[in-house]
Protein backbone atom coordinates (compact mmCIF):
# COMPACT_ATOMS: atom_id res chain seq x y z
CA UNK A 1 0.00 0.00 0.00
CA UNK A 2 2.60 2.52 -1.07
CA UNK A 3 1.83 6.21 -1.17
CA UNK A 4 1.28 7.77 -4.57
CA UNK A 5 2.40 11.33 -5.09
CA UNK A 6 0.61 14.04 -7.02
CA UNK A 7 3.80 15.88 -7.87
CA UNK A 8 2.04 18.75 -9.63
CA UNK A 9 -0.03 19.49 -6.58
CA UNK A 10 2.89 19.46 -4.17
CA UNK A 11 5.12 21.46 -6.51
CA UNK A 12 2.34 24.03 -6.71
CA UNK A 13 2.14 24.25 -2.91
CA UNK A 14 5.93 24.52 -2.68
CA UNK A 15 6.14 27.12 -5.47
CA UNK A 16 8.49 25.07 -7.64
CA UNK A 17 8.13 25.19 -11.40
CA UNK A 18 9.45 21.70 -12.02
CA UNK A 19 10.58 20.81 -15.50
CA UNK A 20 9.12 17.61 -16.99
CA UNK A 21 12.25 15.45 -16.45
CA UNK A 22 12.48 16.65 -12.89
CA UNK A 23 8.90 15.67 -12.22
CA UNK A 24 9.44 12.09 -13.21
CA UNK A 25 12.61 11.61 -11.18
CA UNK A 26 11.26 13.41 -8.15
CA UNK A 27 8.05 11.40 -8.13
CA UNK A 28 10.11 8.25 -8.15
CA UNK A 29 12.44 9.48 -5.41
CA UNK A 30 9.63 10.68 -3.19
CA UNK A 31 7.65 7.50 -3.54
CA UNK A 32 10.72 5.44 -2.65
CA UNK A 33 11.35 7.53 0.43
CA UNK A 34 7.72 7.37 1.49
CA UNK A 35 7.77 3.62 1.03
CA UNK A 36 10.72 3.55 3.39
CA UNK A 37 9.11 5.75 6.03
CA UNK A 38 5.96 3.69 5.84
CA UNK A 39 7.57 1.25 8.27
CA UNK A 40 6.47 3.65 10.99
CA UNK A 41 2.96 2.28 10.59
CA UNK A 42 4.01 -0.83 12.46
CA UNK A 43 4.92 1.19 15.57
CA UNK A 44 2.23 1.37 18.21
CA UNK A 45 1.92 5.01 19.19
CA UNK A 46 -1.66 5.05 20.45
CA UNK A 47 -0.73 6.19 23.94
CA UNK A 48 2.31 8.24 22.96
CA UNK A 49 2.53 12.04 23.03
CA UNK A 50 4.32 13.74 20.14
CA UNK A 51 7.66 15.46 20.85
CA UNK A 52 7.78 18.89 19.25
CA UNK A 53 10.40 20.24 21.62
CA UNK A 54 13.10 18.07 23.19
CA UNK A 55 13.83 20.46 26.04
CA UNK A 56 11.27 20.98 28.81
CA UNK A 57 11.49 24.74 28.34
CA UNK A 58 8.48 26.96 28.87
CA UNK A 59 7.62 30.63 29.10
CA UNK A 60 10.54 32.27 27.37
CA UNK A 61 9.65 35.94 26.98
CA UNK A 62 11.11 39.29 26.18
CA UNK A 63 10.05 42.51 27.89
CA UNK A 64 8.07 45.06 25.94
CA UNK A 65 10.45 47.85 24.99
CA UNK A 66 11.60 49.03 21.58
CA UNK A 67 15.21 49.03 20.40
CA UNK A 68 16.05 50.34 16.93
CA UNK A 69 18.25 48.04 14.86
CA UNK A 70 18.85 50.36 11.89
CA UNK A 71 19.63 47.71 9.31
CA UNK A 72 17.21 48.91 6.67
CA UNK A 73 19.83 50.70 4.59
CA UNK A 74 22.09 47.65 4.55
CA UNK A 75 19.21 45.34 3.67
CA UNK A 76 17.77 47.58 0.95
CA UNK A 77 21.19 48.09 -0.62
CA UNK A 78 21.38 44.36 -1.34
CA UNK A 79 17.79 43.93 -2.44
CA UNK A 80 17.46 42.41 -5.90
CA UNK A 81 14.99 45.16 -6.75
CA UNK A 82 14.11 48.25 -4.80
CA UNK A 83 12.28 51.54 -5.21
CA UNK A 84 13.72 54.03 -2.77
CA UNK A 85 12.96 52.68 0.68
CA UNK A 86 10.69 49.92 -0.59
CA UNK A 87 11.36 46.41 -1.84
CA UNK A 88 9.93 45.94 -5.28
CA UNK A 89 8.08 42.93 -6.61
CA UNK A 90 6.08 42.25 -9.77
CA UNK A 91 2.61 43.71 -9.69
CA UNK A 92 0.39 42.00 -7.15
CA UNK A 93 -3.07 41.75 -8.62
CA UNK A 94 -6.15 41.60 -6.48
CA UNK A 95 -9.71 41.60 -7.83
Amino acid sequence: MSQKINIEQIAELARLNLKPEERVKLTKDLEAILAYVDQLREVDTKKIEPTSHVLPLQNVFRKDFAVPTRISDAVLSHAPKREGKFFKVPKVIEA
Binding site: F61, P68, K91
Partner: protein, 490 residues
Protein backbone atom coordinates in the same frame (compact mmCIF):
# COMPACT_ATOMS: atom_id res chain seq x y z
CA UNK B 1 -33.38 37.76 -11.89
CA UNK B 2 -35.12 36.68 -8.68
CA UNK B 3 -37.83 38.70 -7.09
CA UNK B 4 -36.49 40.46 -4.05
CA UNK B 5 -39.65 41.41 -2.37
CA UNK B 6 -39.58 41.79 1.34
CA UNK B 7 -41.76 38.69 1.40
CA UNK B 8 -39.00 36.55 -0.01
CA UNK B 9 -36.41 38.03 2.32
CA UNK B 10 -38.34 37.25 5.46
CA UNK B 11 -38.47 33.61 4.44
CA UNK B 12 -34.70 33.50 4.81
CA UNK B 13 -32.47 34.16 7.74
CA UNK B 14 -28.89 35.30 7.43
CA UNK B 15 -26.18 33.59 9.44
CA UNK B 16 -23.21 35.83 10.11
CA UNK B 17 -19.88 35.35 11.87
CA UNK B 18 -17.22 38.01 12.22
CA UNK B 19 -13.44 37.69 12.37
CA UNK B 20 -11.86 40.77 13.86
CA UNK B 21 -8.13 41.41 13.84
CA UNK B 22 -6.99 43.88 16.48
CA UNK B 23 -3.51 45.39 16.63
CA UNK B 24 -2.38 45.30 20.24
CA UNK B 25 -0.90 48.45 21.74
CA UNK B 26 2.54 47.20 22.69
CA UNK B 27 5.64 49.33 22.37
CA UNK B 28 7.52 46.67 20.46
CA UNK B 29 6.54 43.98 17.99
CA UNK B 30 5.34 40.55 18.99
CA UNK B 31 8.56 38.63 18.36
CA UNK B 32 11.27 41.31 18.21
CA UNK B 33 12.25 44.65 19.69
CA UNK B 34 11.28 46.80 16.73
CA UNK B 35 9.00 49.72 17.46
CA UNK B 36 5.32 49.45 16.54
CA UNK B 37 5.07 53.19 16.04
CA UNK B 38 2.93 54.17 13.11
CA UNK B 39 4.09 56.58 10.44
CA UNK B 40 7.80 55.93 10.30
CA UNK B 41 9.81 55.83 7.08
CA UNK B 42 9.18 52.67 5.02
CA UNK B 43 11.15 49.70 6.32
CA UNK B 44 12.57 51.74 9.19
CA UNK B 45 11.03 49.64 11.96
CA UNK B 46 12.74 46.44 10.89
CA UNK B 47 15.32 43.96 12.11
CA UNK B 48 16.44 40.47 11.05
CA UNK B 49 13.55 38.88 12.93
CA UNK B 50 10.59 40.75 11.44
CA UNK B 51 12.24 40.77 8.04
CA UNK B 52 12.49 37.01 8.32
CA UNK B 53 16.16 37.03 7.40
CA UNK B 54 17.84 33.63 7.33
CA UNK B 55 19.03 32.71 10.81
CA UNK B 56 16.61 34.95 12.70
CA UNK B 57 14.48 33.63 15.56
CA UNK B 58 11.33 34.87 17.36
CA UNK B 59 11.02 35.64 21.09
CA UNK B 60 7.54 36.36 22.46
CA UNK B 61 6.68 39.82 23.82
CA UNK B 62 5.35 39.24 27.33
CA UNK B 63 2.97 42.18 27.13
CA UNK B 64 1.33 40.88 23.97
CA UNK B 65 0.38 37.71 25.81
CA UNK B 66 -0.82 39.69 28.82
CA UNK B 67 -3.06 41.88 26.68
CA UNK B 68 -4.39 38.85 24.84
CA UNK B 69 -5.31 37.17 28.13
CA UNK B 70 -7.06 40.30 29.35
CA UNK B 71 -9.17 40.49 26.24
CA UNK B 72 -10.02 36.81 26.57
CA UNK B 73 -11.15 37.37 30.16
CA UNK B 74 -13.18 40.42 29.23
CA UNK B 75 -14.91 38.28 26.61
CA UNK B 76 -15.76 35.64 29.22
CA UNK B 77 -13.45 33.10 27.61
CA UNK B 78 -11.57 30.20 29.12
CA UNK B 79 -7.87 30.96 29.12
CA UNK B 80 -5.92 27.94 27.92
CA UNK B 81 -3.58 26.61 30.60
CA UNK B 82 -1.04 25.69 27.92
CA UNK B 83 -0.61 28.00 24.97
CA UNK B 84 1.44 27.27 21.91
CA UNK B 85 2.18 28.79 18.56
CA UNK B 86 1.97 27.21 15.12
CA UNK B 87 3.18 28.05 11.66
CA UNK B 88 0.63 28.94 9.01
CA UNK B 89 2.47 28.43 5.72
CA UNK B 90 1.63 30.37 2.56
CA UNK B 91 3.41 32.58 0.04
CA UNK B 92 2.79 36.29 -0.39
CA UNK B 93 5.21 39.21 -0.77
CA UNK B 94 4.10 40.83 2.49
CA UNK B 95 4.90 37.66 4.44
CA UNK B 96 8.69 37.55 4.77
CA UNK B 97 9.13 34.05 6.20
CA UNK B 98 6.47 32.49 3.94
CA UNK B 99 4.73 31.51 7.14
CA UNK B 100 2.85 33.47 9.74
CA UNK B 101 3.44 32.56 13.36
CA UNK B 102 -0.11 32.12 14.62
CA UNK B 103 -2.04 29.74 16.84
CA UNK B 104 -3.89 26.69 15.64
CA UNK B 105 -5.11 24.28 18.28
CA UNK B 106 -4.11 25.86 21.60
CA UNK B 107 -5.14 29.53 21.29
CA UNK B 108 -4.82 31.94 24.19
CA UNK B 109 -8.52 31.80 24.93
CA UNK B 110 -11.73 30.25 23.68
CA UNK B 111 -15.42 29.57 24.32
CA UNK B 112 -16.51 32.99 25.48
CA UNK B 113 -19.29 35.41 24.64
CA UNK B 114 -20.04 39.04 24.12
CA UNK B 115 -23.42 40.51 24.99
CA UNK B 116 -24.58 42.98 22.41
CA UNK B 117 -27.09 45.60 23.35
CA UNK B 118 -28.96 47.61 20.85
CA UNK B 119 -31.77 50.08 20.90
CA UNK B 120 -35.01 48.93 19.43
CA UNK B 121 -38.16 51.02 19.77
CA UNK B 122 -36.64 53.05 22.58
CA UNK B 123 -35.78 49.93 24.59
CA UNK B 124 -32.46 48.19 25.09
CA UNK B 125 -32.36 44.64 23.72
CA UNK B 126 -29.67 42.15 24.76
CA UNK B 127 -28.27 39.16 22.90
CA UNK B 128 -25.33 36.87 23.66
CA UNK B 129 -22.94 36.31 20.76
CA UNK B 130 -20.55 33.41 21.18
CA UNK B 131 -16.81 33.97 20.86
CA UNK B 132 -15.16 30.88 19.44
CA UNK B 133 -11.62 31.96 20.19
CA UNK B 134 -9.19 34.82 20.50
CA UNK B 135 -5.63 34.04 19.44
CA UNK B 136 -2.32 35.81 18.96
CA UNK B 137 -0.48 36.10 15.69
CA UNK B 138 1.92 38.40 13.87
CA UNK B 139 0.82 40.97 11.32
CA UNK B 140 2.19 40.96 7.77
CA UNK B 141 3.87 43.84 5.97
CA UNK B 142 2.12 46.25 3.65
CA UNK B 143 1.89 46.14 -0.10
CA UNK B 144 1.42 49.27 -2.15
CA UNK B 145 -0.13 49.05 -5.60
CA UNK B 146 -1.95 52.33 -6.26
CA UNK B 147 -0.44 54.32 -9.06
CA UNK B 148 2.52 52.01 -9.54
CA UNK B 149 2.64 50.64 -13.03
CA UNK B 150 5.60 48.31 -13.11
CA UNK B 151 5.27 46.48 -9.86
CA UNK B 152 4.20 46.62 -6.24
CA UNK B 153 6.14 47.97 -3.31
CA UNK B 154 6.67 46.28 0.02
CA UNK B 155 7.03 47.91 3.43
CA UNK B 156 7.72 45.61 6.37
CA UNK B 157 7.16 48.13 9.19
CA UNK B 158 3.89 46.44 9.99
CA UNK B 159 5.32 42.91 9.80
CA UNK B 160 5.47 41.49 13.30
CA UNK B 161 3.04 43.89 14.97
CA UNK B 162 1.02 41.79 17.45
CA UNK B 163 -2.49 40.93 16.35
CA UNK B 164 -5.29 39.39 18.30
CA UNK B 165 -7.72 37.52 16.06
CA UNK B 166 -11.17 37.36 17.63
CA UNK B 167 -13.55 34.92 15.98
CA UNK B 168 -17.26 34.97 16.73
CA UNK B 169 -19.63 32.05 16.51
CA UNK B 170 -22.04 32.39 13.59
CA UNK B 171 -24.64 33.76 16.02
CA UNK B 172 -25.37 37.09 14.34
CA UNK B 173 -28.63 37.27 12.46
CA UNK B 174 -28.67 40.69 10.83
CA UNK B 175 -26.34 43.37 9.53
CA UNK B 176 -27.49 45.57 12.38
CA UNK B 177 -26.47 42.96 14.93
CA UNK B 178 -23.10 42.75 13.21
CA UNK B 179 -22.73 46.50 13.58
CA UNK B 180 -23.62 46.30 17.25
CA UNK B 181 -21.20 43.46 17.78
CA UNK B 182 -18.39 45.58 16.40
CA UNK B 183 -19.42 48.59 18.47
CA UNK B 184 -19.62 46.54 21.65
CA UNK B 185 -16.34 44.81 20.96
CA UNK B 186 -14.63 48.11 20.24
CA UNK B 187 -15.97 49.55 23.50
CA UNK B 188 -14.55 46.63 25.47
CA UNK B 189 -11.20 46.93 23.75
CA UNK B 190 -11.17 50.66 24.47
CA UNK B 191 -11.95 50.10 28.12
CA UNK B 192 -9.10 47.61 28.34
CA UNK B 193 -6.87 50.10 26.52
CA UNK B 194 -5.38 47.30 24.44
CA UNK B 195 -5.75 48.88 21.04
CA UNK B 196 -6.49 52.10 19.19
CA UNK B 197 -9.32 50.22 17.43
CA UNK B 198 -9.12 52.49 14.44
CA UNK B 199 -10.44 50.87 11.27
CA UNK B 200 -9.25 53.73 9.10
CA UNK B 201 -5.70 53.31 10.38
CA UNK B 202 -5.88 49.56 10.19
CA UNK B 203 -5.54 48.83 13.90
CA UNK B 204 -8.87 47.04 13.70
CA UNK B 205 -9.87 44.92 10.69
CA UNK B 206 -12.93 42.88 10.09
CA UNK B 207 -13.84 40.05 7.76
CA UNK B 208 -17.36 38.71 7.63
CA UNK B 209 -18.62 35.20 6.93
CA UNK B 210 -22.13 35.29 5.53
CA UNK B 211 -24.55 32.57 4.56
CA UNK B 212 -28.32 32.33 4.29
CA UNK B 213 -30.83 29.60 4.95
CA UNK B 214 -34.55 29.27 5.07
CA UNK B 215 -35.94 30.05 8.50
CA UNK B 216 -36.41 26.91 10.50
CA UNK B 217 -33.55 25.05 8.81
CA UNK B 218 -30.80 23.84 11.10
CA UNK B 219 -28.13 23.24 8.46
CA UNK B 220 -25.91 26.13 7.48
CA UNK B 221 -25.88 27.40 3.94
CA UNK B 222 -22.66 27.83 1.98
CA UNK B 223 -20.68 30.58 3.58
CA UNK B 224 -18.94 33.36 1.73
CA UNK B 225 -16.10 35.38 3.18
CA UNK B 226 -16.25 39.15 2.69
CA UNK B 227 -13.13 41.30 2.98
CA UNK B 228 -12.03 44.88 2.38
CA UNK B 229 -14.50 46.76 4.57
CA UNK B 230 -13.01 49.90 6.08
CA UNK B 231 -15.57 50.94 8.66
CA UNK B 232 -18.31 49.42 10.82
CA UNK B 233 -20.92 50.94 8.52
CA UNK B 234 -19.19 49.40 5.52
CA UNK B 235 -19.41 46.04 7.27
CA UNK B 236 -23.11 46.55 7.75
CA UNK B 237 -23.65 47.62 4.15
CA UNK B 238 -21.53 44.82 2.74
CA UNK B 239 -23.40 42.20 4.74
CA UNK B 240 -26.71 43.70 3.69
CA UNK B 241 -25.69 43.50 0.04
CA UNK B 242 -24.32 40.00 0.37
CA UNK B 243 -27.47 38.67 2.02
CA UNK B 244 -29.55 40.05 -0.83
CA UNK B 245 -27.18 38.58 -3.36
CA UNK B 246 -27.24 35.14 -1.80
CA UNK B 247 -31.02 35.14 -1.46
CA UNK B 248 -31.20 36.15 -5.11
CA UNK B 249 -28.92 33.23 -6.06
CA UNK B 250 -30.98 30.82 -4.01
CA UNK B 251 -34.23 32.01 -5.50
CA UNK B 252 -33.00 31.64 -9.05
CA UNK B 253 -31.68 28.17 -8.31
CA UNK B 254 -28.01 29.07 -8.60
CA UNK B 255 -25.53 27.42 -6.30
CA UNK B 256 -23.62 29.68 -3.94
CA UNK B 257 -19.90 29.34 -4.45
CA UNK B 258 -17.78 29.12 -1.30
CA UNK B 259 -15.31 31.88 -1.96
CA UNK B 260 -13.81 35.14 -0.79
CA UNK B 261 -15.41 38.32 -2.09
CA UNK B 262 -14.20 41.90 -1.80
CA UNK B 263 -16.45 44.75 -0.79
CA UNK B 264 -16.31 47.65 -3.19
CA UNK B 265 -17.36 50.76 -1.27
CA UNK B 266 -17.84 53.03 -4.26
CA UNK B 267 -19.88 50.51 -6.24
CA UNK B 268 -21.71 49.26 -3.18
CA UNK B 269 -21.27 45.60 -4.07
CA UNK B 270 -19.18 42.54 -3.35
CA UNK B 271 -17.22 40.92 -6.14
CA UNK B 272 -15.40 37.68 -6.50
CA UNK B 273 -11.62 37.66 -6.15
CA UNK B 274 -9.81 36.35 -9.24
CA UNK B 275 -6.74 34.06 -8.75
CA UNK B 276 -7.46 31.50 -5.94
CA UNK B 277 -7.84 28.39 -8.09
CA UNK B 278 -7.09 26.32 -5.06
CA UNK B 279 -8.17 26.66 -1.49
CA UNK B 280 -5.22 27.39 0.77
CA UNK B 281 -3.51 24.44 2.44
CA UNK B 282 -1.74 26.15 5.30
CA UNK B 283 0.08 23.03 6.50
CA UNK B 284 -0.13 24.09 10.13
CA UNK B 285 2.45 22.55 12.44
CA UNK B 286 3.79 23.51 15.89
CA UNK B 287 6.28 26.37 15.75
CA UNK B 288 9.62 24.75 16.67
CA UNK B 289 11.32 28.08 17.40
CA UNK B 290 8.93 28.97 20.23
CA UNK B 291 8.48 26.95 23.39
CA UNK B 292 5.03 26.42 24.93
CA UNK B 293 3.63 28.90 27.44
CA UNK B 294 1.79 27.96 30.57
CA UNK B 295 -0.40 30.41 32.39
CA UNK B 296 -0.94 29.60 36.04
CA UNK B 297 -4.47 29.79 37.40
CA UNK B 298 -3.35 32.31 40.01
CA UNK B 299 -1.93 34.53 37.31
CA UNK B 300 -5.17 34.36 35.34
CA UNK B 301 -7.09 35.32 38.47
CA UNK B 302 -4.75 38.23 39.04
CA UNK B 303 -5.46 39.45 35.52
CA UNK B 304 -9.17 38.96 36.01
CA UNK B 305 -9.15 40.98 39.23
CA UNK B 306 -7.19 43.77 37.60
CA UNK B 307 -9.60 44.17 34.71
CA UNK B 308 -11.06 47.67 34.62
CA UNK B 309 -14.80 48.19 34.92
CA UNK B 310 -16.16 46.99 31.61
CA UNK B 311 -19.01 48.67 29.67
CA UNK B 312 -21.80 46.36 30.81
CA UNK B 313 -20.89 46.62 34.48
CA UNK B 314 -20.47 50.34 34.14
CA UNK B 315 -23.91 50.62 32.59
CA UNK B 316 -25.41 48.72 35.51
CA UNK B 317 -23.66 51.03 37.90
CA UNK B 318 -24.84 54.13 36.03
CA UNK B 319 -28.37 52.89 36.44
CA UNK B 320 -28.13 52.16 40.14
CA UNK B 321 -25.76 54.91 41.19
CA UNK B 322 -27.13 57.71 39.04
CA UNK B 323 -30.66 56.54 38.48
CA UNK B 324 -30.27 56.62 34.71
CA UNK B 325 -32.53 54.71 32.36
CA UNK B 326 -31.20 51.58 30.67
CA UNK B 327 -31.19 53.47 27.41
CA UNK B 328 -29.21 56.43 28.70
CA UNK B 329 -26.75 54.27 30.58
CA UNK B 330 -26.12 52.17 27.46
CA UNK B 331 -25.50 55.24 25.33
CA UNK B 332 -23.09 56.84 27.77
CA UNK B 333 -20.96 53.73 28.34
CA UNK B 334 -20.66 52.71 24.71
CA UNK B 335 -17.77 55.08 24.31
CA UNK B 336 -15.37 55.04 27.22
CA UNK B 337 -14.40 58.69 26.86
CA UNK B 338 -18.05 59.70 26.83
CA UNK B 339 -18.73 57.78 30.01
CA UNK B 340 -15.65 59.35 31.60
CA UNK B 341 -16.86 62.79 30.59
CA UNK B 342 -20.24 62.15 32.12
CA UNK B 343 -18.82 60.95 35.41
CA UNK B 344 -16.41 63.86 35.66
CA UNK B 345 -19.32 66.16 35.10
CA UNK B 346 -21.44 64.55 37.77
CA UNK B 347 -18.55 64.83 40.23
CA UNK B 348 -19.05 68.60 39.98
CA UNK B 349 -22.29 68.11 41.87
CA UNK B 350 -24.90 68.43 39.21
CA UNK B 351 -27.93 66.26 38.64
CA UNK B 352 -26.91 63.06 36.85
CA UNK B 353 -30.15 63.00 34.88
CA UNK B 354 -29.68 66.53 33.65
CA UNK B 355 -26.03 65.87 32.89
CA UNK B 356 -26.95 62.73 30.97
CA UNK B 357 -29.50 64.52 28.82
CA UNK B 358 -27.34 67.53 28.27
CA UNK B 359 -24.25 65.55 27.28
CA UNK B 360 -26.15 63.29 24.92
CA UNK B 361 -27.73 66.24 23.16
CA UNK B 362 -25.86 69.53 23.46
CA UNK B 363 -22.35 68.26 24.11
CA UNK B 364 -22.36 65.61 21.43
CA UNK B 365 -23.93 68.01 18.96
CA UNK B 366 -21.08 70.46 19.44
CA UNK B 367 -18.50 67.67 19.33
CA UNK B 368 -19.86 66.46 16.01
CA UNK B 369 -20.38 69.86 14.42
CA UNK B 370 -16.86 70.97 15.32
CA UNK B 371 -15.36 67.74 14.01
CA UNK B 372 -13.61 66.96 17.28
CA UNK B 373 -13.84 63.99 19.61
CA UNK B 374 -15.06 63.84 23.17
CA UNK B 375 -11.43 63.32 24.23
CA UNK B 376 -10.26 66.61 22.80
CA UNK B 377 -13.52 68.54 23.23
CA UNK B 378 -12.77 72.15 24.13
CA UNK B 379 -15.23 72.36 26.99
CA UNK B 380 -14.15 70.47 30.07
CA UNK B 381 -16.59 68.45 32.15
CA UNK B 382 -16.36 71.18 34.75
CA UNK B 383 -17.35 73.83 32.22
CA UNK B 384 -20.29 71.74 31.08
CA UNK B 385 -21.25 71.16 34.66
CA UNK B 386 -21.21 74.93 35.14
CA UNK B 387 -23.92 75.34 32.53
CA UNK B 388 -26.01 72.53 33.92
CA UNK B 389 -25.79 73.99 37.41
CA UNK B 390 -27.30 77.25 36.17
CA UNK B 391 -30.28 75.35 34.79
CA UNK B 392 -30.59 73.35 37.95
CA UNK B 393 -30.70 76.37 40.23
CA UNK B 394 -33.11 78.16 37.95
CA UNK B 395 -30.78 80.93 36.92
CA UNK B 396 -31.47 80.30 33.27
CA UNK B 397 -33.86 78.23 31.28
CA UNK B 398 -32.84 75.25 29.22
CA UNK B 399 -33.29 77.20 26.03
CA UNK B 400 -31.05 80.04 27.15
CA UNK B 401 -28.53 77.53 28.40
CA UNK B 402 -28.12 76.19 24.87
CA UNK B 403 -27.13 79.63 23.64
CA UNK B 404 -24.79 80.10 26.56
CA UNK B 405 -23.12 76.76 25.84
CA UNK B 406 -22.39 77.70 22.21
CA UNK B 407 -20.96 80.99 23.29
CA UNK B 408 -18.79 79.19 25.84
CA UNK B 409 -17.47 77.01 23.04
CA UNK B 410 -16.63 80.05 20.87
CA UNK B 411 -15.10 82.14 23.66
CA UNK B 412 -13.20 81.02 26.67
CA UNK B 413 -15.67 82.43 29.11
CA UNK B 414 -17.47 80.53 31.80
CA UNK B 415 -21.22 80.07 31.88
CA UNK B 416 -21.61 82.50 34.76
CA UNK B 417 -19.61 85.16 33.00
CA UNK B 418 -21.64 84.92 29.85
CA UNK B 419 -24.95 84.99 31.67
CA UNK B 420 -23.90 88.05 33.57
CA UNK B 421 -22.52 89.81 30.48
CA UNK B 422 -25.53 89.22 28.35
CA UNK B 423 -27.99 89.72 31.09
CA UNK B 424 -29.54 86.33 30.55
CA UNK B 425 -30.58 85.63 34.10
CA UNK B 426 -33.93 83.97 34.09
CA UNK B 427 -36.78 86.06 35.25
CA UNK B 428 -38.58 84.41 38.11
CA UNK B 429 -39.84 87.56 39.74
CA UNK B 430 -43.60 87.02 39.55
CA UNK B 431 -44.37 90.71 39.65
CA UNK B 432 -42.51 91.50 36.45
CA UNK B 433 -43.75 88.27 34.92
CA UNK B 434 -47.33 89.23 35.66
CA UNK B 435 -46.75 92.49 33.89
CA UNK B 436 -45.49 90.68 30.78
CA UNK B 437 -48.30 88.18 30.92
CA UNK B 438 -50.84 90.96 31.15
CA UNK B 439 -49.32 92.63 28.13
CA UNK B 440 -49.54 89.45 26.06
CA UNK B 441 -53.14 88.75 27.12
CA UNK B 442 -54.13 92.17 26.02
CA UNK B 443 -52.35 91.85 22.70
CA UNK B 444 -53.90 88.50 21.78
CA UNK B 445 -57.65 88.58 22.46
CA UNK B 446 -58.53 85.93 19.85
CA UNK B 447 -56.12 83.37 21.26
CA UNK B 448 -57.34 84.10 24.74
CA UNK B 449 -60.86 83.50 23.57
CA UNK B 450 -59.79 80.20 21.97
CA UNK B 451 -58.26 79.06 25.22
CA UNK B 452 -61.26 80.05 27.24
CA UNK B 453 -63.48 78.13 24.89
CA UNK B 454 -61.57 74.94 25.54
CA UNK B 455 -58.60 74.96 23.16
CA UNK B 456 -55.95 74.13 25.70
CA UNK B 457 -53.11 74.22 23.21
CA UNK B 458 -53.67 77.93 22.71
CA UNK B 459 -51.94 78.44 26.00
CA UNK B 460 -48.69 77.26 24.47
CA UNK B 461 -48.83 80.08 21.97
CA UNK B 462 -49.36 82.60 24.72
CA UNK B 463 -46.46 81.18 26.73
CA UNK B 464 -44.33 81.53 23.62
CA UNK B 465 -45.34 85.16 23.31
CA UNK B 466 -44.34 85.84 26.90
CA UNK B 467 -40.99 84.17 26.22
CA UNK B 468 -40.57 86.45 23.21
CA UNK B 469 -41.53 89.47 25.25
CA UNK B 470 -38.96 88.60 27.94
CA UNK B 471 -36.33 87.68 25.37
CA UNK B 472 -36.45 84.10 26.49
CA UNK B 473 -35.56 84.84 30.04
CA UNK B 474 -38.85 84.05 31.63
CA UNK B 475 -39.24 80.81 33.49
CA UNK B 476 -41.68 79.01 31.25
CA UNK B 477 -43.26 76.96 34.03
CA UNK B 478 -44.00 80.05 36.05
CA UNK B 479 -45.39 81.81 32.99
CA UNK B 480 -47.64 78.89 32.30
CA UNK B 481 -48.93 79.00 35.84
CA UNK B 482 -49.54 82.71 35.84
CA UNK B 483 -51.37 82.62 32.51
CA UNK B 484 -53.65 79.83 33.61
CA UNK B 485 -54.48 81.64 36.83
CA UNK B 486 -55.29 84.83 35.05
CA UNK B 487 -57.33 83.25 32.31
CA UNK B 488 -59.25 80.79 34.38
CA UNK B 489 -59.91 83.48 36.87
CA UNK B 490 -58.44 81.64 39.80
Amino acid sequence: MARETSEVITVYEPVIGLEVHVQLKTKSKIFCACSTEFGREPNENTCPVCLGLPGSLPVLNERALELAIRVGLALNCEVSPVIKFDRKNYFYPDLPKAYQISQYDKPVSSKGYLTIEFKQDGKVMKKKIGITRAHLEEDAGKLLHEGIRDGSWVDYNRAGVPLLEIVSEPDLRSPEEAFQYLTSLKAILQYLDVSDCNMEEGSLRCDANVSVRKKGETEFGTKVEIKNMNSFRAVQKAITYEIKRQIGQNESGERIVQETRLWNESKGETSSMRSKEQAHDYRYFPEPDLVPFSVAKEQVEKFRKSLPELPQVRAERFRSQYGLSEYDAYTLVSDKALGDYFEACVKENVSPKLASNWIQTETLALVNSSGSTIQNFKLSPAATAGTIRLIENGTISGKIAKEVYSIMFETKKSAEEIVKEKDLVQVTDTVSLEASVQKVIQANPKVVADFKSGKDSALGFLVGQVMKETKGRANPALVNGILRKKLTGG
